[in-house]
Amino acid sequence: MNNAEISQMISNIEISANRIRLRVLEHILKNNGGYMSQACSSAEILAALYLYIMKLGPSIAPLTPPKFKGVPGSNNQDYFRGGAYNGPLQADLDHFIFSPSHYALVLYATLIEVGRLAEDALQDFNQDGSTVEMIGHEHSPGVDSTAGSLGQAISQAGGFALARKLLNEVGREWVFMSDGEFQEGQIWEAINTMAYYRLDNIGVYVDVNGQQCDGLVQEVMSVEPLKAKLEAFGARVQVVDGHNVEELFNAGKYHKDGKPLFVLCYTNPTKFIPLLNNRKPKLHYLRFTSEEEKMEYQSLFEELEGMIPWK
């Protein structure tokens, strides 16, 4: 990319990221609750992945999410999979597994923002009979494999990456993760295995927002120093500012070094919505405690809406 193209990319991703946050905030205002801080921290990462980093084909799923038609089973073998929103599974295309399913609202907002999901798809969010579930599963838009029991996506992606090697495919495997997941032992089993089998065709973007359900990661069970730990396990590690688009993009470049790639994106869980700072350290879920608080967010929304190109 030349300088003009890079500037264009930065602008595109930054605008998309803020619009993702606005969509999430708008939804939370309508529904009096939702996962806000996850959008604050991860919006640039997800926008960059979908718009510039991952090589995905066009969505092969309907713009309006289908209704839930039953769990997989021998009587429902061709069930609808949310991965269809990320395009076809193809040798020369990349494949994406979304690990922290609690970020589903942010993922759906991202899919809307990048044109893979209808503008009004969030109307179905957490509604009975809908696939746009509160915690995404593999029938939910953009969710390829069931990963809501945290720490399981990375091993599944490892299996995909190994299959790619066996099939001589050039497409890459991408995973989006959250930092709290690194408390799960399975993660470390997976990294060990990916390094052992030299799976350099896998790239993991981690939203290191320092937040988890109980509060701050460092107070629940610190996972740091993540970079040193990952490197000791045989990974290639890039540490970036998770809101710096150029750093995010450059970190995803392919290296044929036999090492799985981890991009540690240090992020601010109140980015763009400074009002959230009043709720620290518990940012996992935003539910307004009073009409007054809701009004504060409403006026912030109106203010931000005026600042960026919107709808």
């Binding site: 089973g73 073998q77 029991s149 399981q152 996506a153 599944q156 995909f160």
Partner: protein, 335 residues
């Protein structure tokens, strides 16, 4: 009685020959699970996953989603007990064709409680999309792979290793969801699985000599459990039903039979032989079978209880019998 050495090792090598999409994932028990030679013959399809079973489940899921058939080899307890959430969420929920080859079912190991899969059937019967197959002899071991491979979703196999008796005619393959009828009669019905079947085969001829007519079904498909022979056999049994299993009596073969008796209103008495809601410990198989009452004499006592009569059969009578491979593909309705 013919004893076959390493029937699984040979059968799996031969079976895999023309199946390039069959992979083996192993968790540091490669030679203990009889896939050491397989690894030497098909090195490009063998993946050592180390002592990391949770991760192995995820890798298997990813490979299966890309068209491969991962055959996971380790001791049974490390396939379902240790990594259960990964097995349920990464593999069973999406109904992926992963084959879980579980060695050392029940008390077939002196390895003690950590190595004894005494609750696997119970746990996996409650796992939707899971199929459970169970081997009772060398013929079962040699022919279970074809049965497993016809299933679209995940399959768990209770596998036997080492020296395995041949109880069933070599040419009579395991059939999916179809019990082997080894004896037939209308006084009582005995259901057995796995290593318990040999115990039953040692007892039934002696009991028949006492004038009782017995149906004996060896069950190799534990889930689904819808073989029509089962209802027919229970309905015919005048005195009632006995189940004998190398497993906790809660949740296994006996429970599955109890559900059928209750739901179909068959109103028969049922005696369940198996581990009575207990863990086991490390000792020889024959010792543990006696201790936990899944041996021939325990079966004799259960029959006596059912018919309310002494049979005068003693321990020394049981060992005498020389078992020859039985014909087992008759159907109950043919009896």
């Amino acid at each position: 009685m013919e004893i076959v050495t390493h029937p699984y090792e040979k059968a799996f090598i031969e079976w895999s020959k023309d199946k390039p999409d069959v992979l083996v994932l192993s968790a540091d028990l490669t030679y203990s699970c009889e896939v050491g030679k397989w690894k030497e013959i098909y090195p490009d399809r063998f993946f050592s996953m180390g002592l990391a079973e949770q991760n192995m489940m995820g890798f298997a899921a990813g490979l299966a989603r890309r068209g491969f058939y991962p055959f996971l080899h380790t001791f049974a307890v490390f396939l379902y007990r240790r990594p259960y959430d990964q097995l349920a969420m990464s593999i069973a929920y999406p109904n992926l064709p992963v084959r879980l080859v579980g060695f050392l079912p029940g008390i077939t190991t002196p390895g003690g409680v950590t190595h004894q899969a005494t609750d696997d059937i119970a746990i996996l019967r409650t796992t939707p999309n899971m199929t459970i197959l169970d081997c009772g002899d060398a013929t079962d071991v040699e022919t279970v792979l074809d049965v497993a491979q016809l299933i679209e979703g995940p399959v768990y196999i209770r596998m036997l290793r080492g020296e395995v008796p041949r109880l069933f005619n070599k040419n009579e393959k395991m059939v999916f969801n179809h019990a082997r009828a080894l004896s037939w009669g209308s006084d009582l019905v005995i259901f057995s699985e796995g290593i318990c079947t040999e115990e039953v085969l040692r007892v039934t001829p002696l009991v028949k000599e006492k004038g009782l007519s017995i149906t004996h079904l060896h069950v190799s498909t534990l889930k689904p459990f819808s073989d029509p022979q089962i209802i027919k056999a229970i309905s015919k049994a005048r005195f009632g039903v006995i189940s004998i299993e190398n497993h906790n009596i809660i949740g296994g073969l006996g429970s599955a039979i109890a559900e059928i008796i209750a739901e179909k209103g068959l109103a028969k008495r049922l005696i369940r032989l198996g581990l009575k809601d207990t863990y086991a410990h490390g000792a020889s198989q024959s010792y543990l079978m006696k201790e936990y009452q899944i041996d021939g004499m325990s079966l004799v006592k259960a029959i006596e209880s059912l018919i309310n009569k002494k049979l005068d059969i003693f321990e020394k009578d049981l060992g005498k019998l020389s078992l020859e491979p039985a014909h087992s593909l008759l159907k109950v309705e043919d009896l």
